[in-house]
Amino acid sequence: MAKKDSDSEHDAPHGGHEDHGGDSTAAVTDDVRLPGAARVAQIAGGVGVVGVLATIGLGVSAGDDLRSFSFAYLTAYVYGLSIALGALVWVTLQHLFAARWSVVVRRVGELFAASTPVMALLALPILVPVLMGNHQLYEWVDHAAVEKDHILHHKHAYLNETFFAVRLVVYFVFWAWLGRYWLTKSVEQDRTKAKGLHAKLYGVSAPSMIALALTLSFAAIDLIMSLDARWFSTIFGVYYFSGAVVAWHSLFALVLFWLQGQGKLVKSVSVHHFHDIGKMMFAFTVFWAYIAFSQYMLIWYANVPEETVWYQERTNGPWQNVAWFLVVGHFVVPFLFLLSRHVKRNRAGLKLGAVWLLFVHWVDMFWLVKPSLGRHGELHGLPIGVMDVTAVVGVLGMLLAAAAWNARDKNLIPLEDERLAKSLAFTNS
């Protein structure tokens, strides 16, 4: 980054060589309000509620004690949760690094980061059956099985219904507080025009990031890894995290494209910002592959039965094709596709990459969750059905509705952030 005086034309570069402090010469000339947000929230929320209710209805009428419902719904749920948590991590990260490039797009991230309460609500179709003793999803709820199985018995102190519920409550209280905190403080600054807020948020972001890392990892362990309660992988939380970051940046890019399509942020958010988001999509695609392979290779090499069984289930039968699809679709293809800067700076290219990554991330969640459905050997073919579609529509609809609802009375850009001018002038050559 380099300094250049602000009197030069169009993409006047501002940067990190010298800190000008508040540079009020550059101003946002865009429309930063989204009056249709409430309407968007209503539509998305309506679709979401219908999706969730349809899934529940289909699940109850399937007459299998909610077994197929639970797995389909959990797949969609951890998918939606990963996006919301990705947003929360992203906003926290921007404060932690006092990032300047992202100020113009940070509010959109804050809107999503503050949408975790709806994910808490959406956790009920998983939590309520567990508390009622339904053990179709999690074997450790089955007291008879726990009694007989030495390992489950041993893990009972952690894996039991009450503590599971307590942990979920703790996670969501923290996530909801943190997301709300980032949004409230930022919106407050729009009104009060207070200076020096970023220093305070920087201080909050560091411990928050540690707590986020822990809660996100343990949530992944509780919700997904405990499906195979005998299996364990210490890198599992990082695996979920890497996918979450990929999925969030993909949705982020799509939401920004949509907003620009609505005539918002057209001049403020430039190709340089999209380029950076594309870089994050690319980088975390590689990171995901790195983590996924690290987990695989250690288990493959040591070849200890209690560890390999998880991959045994996920790389045999119909799952073999899914596993290969992930290797190619979640790494090789997006790696080669997003490698070029020209693709990341091209709207159609980045859009295509984002849609594809959102799809393969769902396949990843599907591959994590659904093979456990076959632990009693009842699987023939891939367990995919209408419920998988309705559940994803439901969860994503609710998530988008929550973010849109947050946006209805707020600016889409933190107009009073002192680093806004630098963000507007950000170049990525």
Partner: protein
């Protein structure tokens, strides 16, 4: 190499303009770019965003070079792993295939990164025309501020568009702080000082010597003892079991047991239990110190499954997984393990079986160091059970359970 100075008056090499701000430089660069110059450059204390388009610099081709290098690295790693593991020196590791992709991925990754990174550095240096130890601008005192707070633009006279007065006028129109001719350097020596050249050449030659000696040593035979590069590692101050000792009078490093002493844990006073014998003959009964009950049988089974079953098989029939694999691989040197349930082993005294486990027999190694005395007896007990099961008749099945058999 004498410093050869050009004759005659110094030649004009170009014109240099100095600016106070990066903005002025960028504007000037745009003008020079639009005038169509090719051989010119700008000099700034720090990188300036936007200077590339202002100078009309095309995107670097470095990424393509790095991509090619990365693919070369990947290919090299693939060939390396294939050749070393599957062709040149095939070696079974943990029962994995010789050419094992997951185990090779870290190598693929590392070589891809290594080739990419070194190429990126090397190609950057070459493309930038580095190293350039000497430049005519270095002679200008004002130019020193290019590393501090001033911004310079230099147009070379060898540019086809260069015209002394017109180019000066062009630069004047960009309002530089200072405008100056750059003349041919006639004060500095044209080449490197001779002693330096000779010294460097000598160093290069000297650097080759060790490799020449190394190659020569690999090619020749010698009756001299080998050279010890690290003598204190080759000759360590410690006694090894079977080596001679200069310290003890009898010259033995391993010390015999002192008369009338017993080492800790070696009081093998129970002839039956410890040696499997009764009055010098192999014992035909289990030692009385060891209870023969269901717990002993279970323990025997566990230990048998761990230590014996890999070769002798879970049923004792000599069909363990190691043997089956050796036969699958058609290993001609493989001696199949004994079937424990047939032949002379059924008549072998338990004391002798106990001894064989501890001391080994033929190509079966001694398990004494690994399996405790009590467990060796329990394994014998379990083998007796396997022998009975392997030769069972309907009479051995309790009458009440015979109906369950087909």
């Amino acid at each position: 190499m004498a410093a050869h100075r050009p004759e005659g008056p110094p030649k004009l090499l170009g014109v240099v303009a100095e600016y106070e701000t990066p903005t002025a430089l960028v504007h000037a660069a745009e003008k020079v770019r639009d005038a169509g110059f090719q051989h010119w450059d700008t000099y700034t204390p720090f990188p300036i965003h936007g200077i590339d388009p202002a100078m009309g610099i095309r995107p670097t081709r470095l990424p393509w070079i790095v991509l090619c290098a990365g693919l070369t690295g990947l290919t090299t790693a693939a060939l390396l792993q294939w050749w070393t593991n599957a062709v040149d020196y095939p070696w079974v590791i943990s029962g994995k295939p010789f050419l094992s992709i997951p185990a090779s991925v870290p190598v693929y990754f590392e070589l891809t990164v290594l080739f990419s990174a070194l190429t990126a550095l090397g190609a950057m240096i070459v493309i930038n025309g580095l190293p350039e130890p000497h430049h005519p601008l270095d002679l200008k005192e004002r130019f020193g501020r290019a590393t501090d707070d001033r911004f310079f633009l230099y147009i070379q006279a060898r540019d086809p568009k260069f015209d002394e007065s017109a180019t000066r006028a062009l630069l004047e129109s960009t309002h530089p702080e200072d405008l100056d001719d750059v003349m041919e350097d006639q004060s500095s020596p044209a080449g490197l000082p001779r002693p330096l050249v000779i010294g460097l050449a000598a160093l290069v030659c000297a650097a080759i010597v060790p490799f020449v000696l190394f190659v020569q040593a690999r090619q020749t035979m010698t009756d001299q003892p080998r050279i010890h590069m690290v003598p204190d590692m080759d000759f360590q101050l410690k006694y090894k079991t079977q080596k001679a000792s200069a310290f003890f009078a009898d010259g033995r490093t391993v010390r015999p047991q002192e008369p009338a002493t017993i080492a800790v844990g070696q009081l093998d006073e129970d002839e039956h239990l410890h040696h499997g014998r009764v009055e010098g003959e192999y014992a035909r009964t289990f030692p009385s110190a060891l209870p023969v009950d269901e717990a002993a049988m279970k323990r025997g089974q566990t230990q048998y499954d761990i230590f014996c079953a890999p070769c002798h098989g879970l049923s004792g029939a000599g069909d363990g997984i190691v043997s089956r694999r050796a036969q699958d691989k058609e290993q001609s040197m493989w001696v199949p393990p004994t079937n424990l349930t047939q032949g002379y082993l059924r008549r072998m005294p338990v004391g002798q079986m106990y001894e064989l486990i501890g001391k080994g027999v033929r190509n079966m190694p001694a398990y004494g160091p690994q399996i405790s005395i009590e467990d060796r007896w329990r394994i014998v007990l379990y083998v007796r059970a396997l022998q009975r099961a392997g030769n069972a008749t309907i009479e051995d099945v309790p009458a009440a359970e015979r109906g369950g058999l087909n």
